[in-house]
Amino acid sequence: MDFLNSLLVKPFADMVAAPDFLIQVLWEGIVSGVLYALIALGFVLIYKSSRIFNFAQGIMVVFAALTLVGLHEKGVPALLAVPLTLVVMFILAVGIERVVLRPLVNQPDIILFMATIGITLFLVGFGEIIFGGENKVMITEQLYIPTGSFEFEPFGGFVSIEQKDLTAVIGAGLLVIALLVFLNRSKMGRAIRALGDDHQAALSVGISLSTIWVLVWFISGIIALATGIVWGARAGVSFALEVIAFKALPVLMLGGLESVSGAIIGGLMIGILEKLFEIYWGQPLLGGNTETWFAFVFALFVLLFRPQGLFGERIIERV
C-alpha cells in the first residue's frame, strides 16, 4: 500500500505542495531537452543525406569547442575565433569527404559507420596532441553570453533561470529554425533531402554527391560548435563532452533518424520526462541516477508501438 502511495499519489502531492520546485524541474528539463536535441540534430542531418550513422558527432563537438578555446588562448579575439573555428570545421568536412567518404562510395552502410569510428579515434588522438587533455574554460563572457540569472518567487517559493541556459534555449531555437528554412526553402537544402530519399535519382538530375556530403558535414560541424559552446559553458571544455553524444541515442530512437522536427520534439520529451521521473520517482523509490537508463527504456517502449520512431518515415520494402 505504501509502495502504491509513493508511486501513484505522493509524487503528484509533492508537485502540488511545491509548485515553484516543479517549475524549476520543468525548466531544467527543457534546458536538458534542448541540449539533447542539439546533439541529435547533428546525427540526423548526416543520416538524412547519406544514411551514415555518424559515430564521430560527439568528438566533433569536443574538437569544435577545443578549437574555439584554443584559438582564443593563442590570442585570437573571441568573435574572430568563432568564424575561424567554422573554417577549421569546413576543412575537416572537406578532409572527411575526400579521404574517408569518397573512397567508400557504394560500400555497405556498416562500412561507412565503421569509418566514422575511425574518424572518432583519429580526432581523439589529434585533438589530444594539439590541445592537450586539460579542462579548459569556455569563453562565455568573451562571446557576450550573459552569465547572471533571473530569479522569481512564484507561489511564495523560488525559481532561478540562468541567463546562460536561456541564451542556449533561444540560440538553439534560432539554429533549428534556420536549419528548417534552409532544408525546406533553399536549393541546396532540397538537394540534401533529395539525396536522402534516393541517391541514384538525385545523381541523375545533376546533384553532386561530394558537394552535398561536404555541406552536411560542415553543417554538422556548425551544430557541433553550437553544442560545444552551450555544454562547455556548463562544465568546461574537455574530452568529456564526447560522452554527451550518447544522450542523443534515445532521442534518435524516439524521434526517428531522418526527422529534424523529431530530434527537437524527441529531445524535449526526453529532457522533461527524465527529469520529472528522476526527481519524483527515481530518487525517492530507486536511489536516483535513473537518467542513465530512463530515456532508453522510454524510447524502447515507444518503439514497441512505432518501430520507426515518433516522426521517422515508415519504409515498406516490397520483395
Binding site: 536538458s32 589530444e128 596532441i129 586539460e134 540562468e162 555544454w231 556548463r234 562544465a235 560522452v243 554527451i244
Partner: protein, 436 residues
C-alpha cells in the same frame, strides 16, 4: 610552434618507448609504465597528473642521469580510464615494467588478483580499494600516502571542527561518481553516520550526467543538507561546481576528496567557487628545489607536455610527488639488494620500506609538498594524513594544519574488509612472514 613541439615530443616518446624494448638498454634502465588516461571523460584529471609524473622522471634523467646510474624509462599505455583497456594495458606491459600504475579504482580491482600471480607491485597513490593498505593481505598492492577512507575520516573531522558528535542530527550528502571509485567511502561514512547520529545521503552521478547534474542538485536543493561531500573525478567535478554555484549552495559547506581539487576545474567557476574545500595529501610548492629543477631541466627546455600555468597546479605537482614515490622505492631497493637494475620483487620490498620523514623530504627537495610518512610490510599506505585546501577564487591555499585520519575507527573495518576480500577470492596468498 607549441603544436610542433608537442608532435616532436610525442614522436620522441614513441621512439623512446620502442627503444625501451631493446635488450641492449635493459641492463641499465628500468621501466615504470603508467596506465595513463589523457583522453576520454576523465582526461581533465589525468592529464596534469601524468604530465607531472612524466616531467619528474625526465628531470631526474636529465639532471642525474637517472637513479644511481640507472636510467628510468617512463612509458604510457593509454586506457581512457576504461577498465577493459586498462586490463589490456596491464597484460601488455607487465613483462617490461617493474611496477603497474593502474590509475582507476576499477582497473586496480581488475589487476589486484593478477598481481599475486605475476608478482608485480601495484602503485595506486591515494586511490584504489582502501583496505589495500593492509599489507599482510594485499602483498603486492600499495596506496601511499593515504587511503580514501582516511580522506573521508579527515573530511568529516574537519567539517565537524574536530568533534564528530557535533554532526548529530545533521544531514550530509555524498555526491559521488557512480563507479567503484565513487562508492569507495560509503561503508566507512555509513559506519560514522551510525556512530555519531547523522544522516548520510549518497547521490550518484552517472557517467553521462557528469556535465549536466541539474537533477542531482535539484535533489540537494530539496533535501537541504548541512554539507555536501564530493567524490568526483574528471568532468564530474566541474559539473558539480557549476551547479553548486548556480543553485547558490554555500561553498564553505561543500568539500571534496583530493581528486575533486583541481585548479582547472575550479577555474571553470572562478570567483563563484570561493570557499570550496578539498582534502589533499599534496600541496604545490613551486619554489621547492625539485620544482625549480623541473623548471630548469624540463619546462624551460620546452620538453614538457604541460599547459601554460599548469606548473603551479595542485594536480601537476601531485604527479611529481607520485613519481617520487616510485623513484624512492627504486632507490630503497637498490640500496638494500645492492643492485642497480631492480626487479619487480625487489621493488615491492622498496615500497614496503619507504621512509619519507621531514629531513629526507628536505634532502630530496620536497619540503612541504607531501606530509612525512613511512610504510611497512603491514602498512602499505603510510596514512600520512593531509591538509584541507581552500579555493580563494584564483588558487588553492592551505586552510588547516596537517589532519590525521581516525585509524581506530578505520583499522577494524579495513581488516574486516581485507579478510572478506581474501575469502571471496580464495585461495588468496597472504604475507605470513610479516610479523608486525
Amino acid at each position: 610552434m607549441k603544436t610542433l613541439s608537442r608532435l616532436g615530443l610525442l614522436s620522441a616518446a614513441v621512439a623512446m618507448g620502442a627503444l625501451a624494448g631493446l635488450p641492449a638498454l635493459a641492463q641499465d634502465s628500468v621501466n615504470v609504465t603508467n596506465l595513463s588516461y589523457r583522453t576520454g571523460p576523465f582526461a581533465a584529471t589525468g592529464t596534469p597528473v601524468m604530465n607531472g609524473q612524466r616531467d619528474y622522471i625526465m628531470m631526474l634523467n636529465e639532471r642525474d642521469g637517472g637513479v644511481n646510474g640507472v636510467k628510468i624509462v617512463y612509458d604510457e599505455c593509454e586506457t581512457g580510464y576504461n577498465t577493459e583497456k586498462g586490463a589490456e594495458c596491464y597484460e601488455k606491459t607487465k613483462g617490461s615494467s617493474i611496477v603497474t600504475q593502474p590509475w582507476s579504482t576499477g582497473i586496480t580491482l581488475q589487476v589486484l588478483p593478477k598481481s599475486n600471480v605475476d608478482k608485480i607491485p601495484i602503485l595506486a597513490p591515494g586511490y584504489g580499494f582502501s583496505p589495500m593498505a593492509e599489507g599482510k593481505t594485499f602483498t603486492w598492492a600499495f596506496n601511499p600516502p593515504t587511503t580514501y577512507w582516511d580522506g573521508a575520516s579527515m573530511i568529516l573531522q574537519n567539517i565537524a571542527d574536530g568533534n564528530l558528535d557535533s554532526l548529530k542530527g545533521k544531514k550530509i550528502v555524498l555526491l559521488h561518481l557512480d563507479a567503484p571509485f565513487g562508492k569507495e567511502p560509503i561503508p566507512l561514512m555509513q559506519a560514522y553516520a551510525e556512530k555519531h547520529g547523522f544522516t548520510l545521503l549518497p547521490i550518484p552521478v552517472g557517467l553521462k550526467e557528469m556535465q549536466n547534474q541539474s537533477a542531482q542538485w535539484l535533489q540537494i536543493r530539496r533535501e537541504r543538507p548541512d554539507f555536501v561531500v564530493m567524490w568526483g573525478w574528471g568532468a564530474m567535478n566541474a559539473g558539480a561546481l557549476t551547479e553548486a554555484a548556480k543553485t547558490k549552495f554555500p561553498m564553505d559547506k561543500f568539500v571534496g576528496i583530493w581528486w575533486s581539487g583541481s585548479d582547472a576545474d575550479l577555474k571553470t567557476v572562478g570567483e563563484a567557487g570561493k570557499g570550496y574545500r578539498s582534502i589533499s595529501w599534496s600541496f604545490p610548492v613551486s619554489d621547492s628545489k625539485t620544482m625549480q629543477d623541473i623548471k630548469t631541466h624540463v619546462i624551460d627546455k620546452g620538453k614538457s607536455l604541460s599547459a601554460p600555468g599548469e606548473f603551479d597546479y595542485v594536480f601537476y605537482q601531485r604527479g611529481v610527488v607520485i613519481s617520487m614515490f616510485a623513484v624512492e622505492a627504486i632507490k630503497s631497493a637498490q640500496a638494500h639488494f645492492n643492485t642497480k637494475v631492480v626487479t619487480p620483487e625487489q621493488l615491492r620490498w622498496g615500497f614496503e620500506n619507504l621512509k619519507l620523514d621531514d629531513a629526507y623530504l628536505a634532502e630530496i627537495g620536497f619540503t612541504g609538498m607531501v606530509p612525512p610518512f613511512s610504510t611497512s610490510c603491514a602498512n602499505h599506505a603510510g596514512h600520512s594524513g593531509g591538509w584541507m585546501l581552500q579555493w580563494d577564487g584564483a588558487k588553492f591555499v592551505k586552510s588547516s594544519d596537517l589532519l590525521k585520519a581516525d585509524e581506530t575507527m578505520i583499522q577494524p573495518l579495513a581488516i574486516a574488509e581485507a579478510k572478506k576480500y581474501a575469502e571471496a577470492n580464495a585461495p588468496w596468498p597472504t604475507n605470513d612472514e610479516c610479523k608486525m
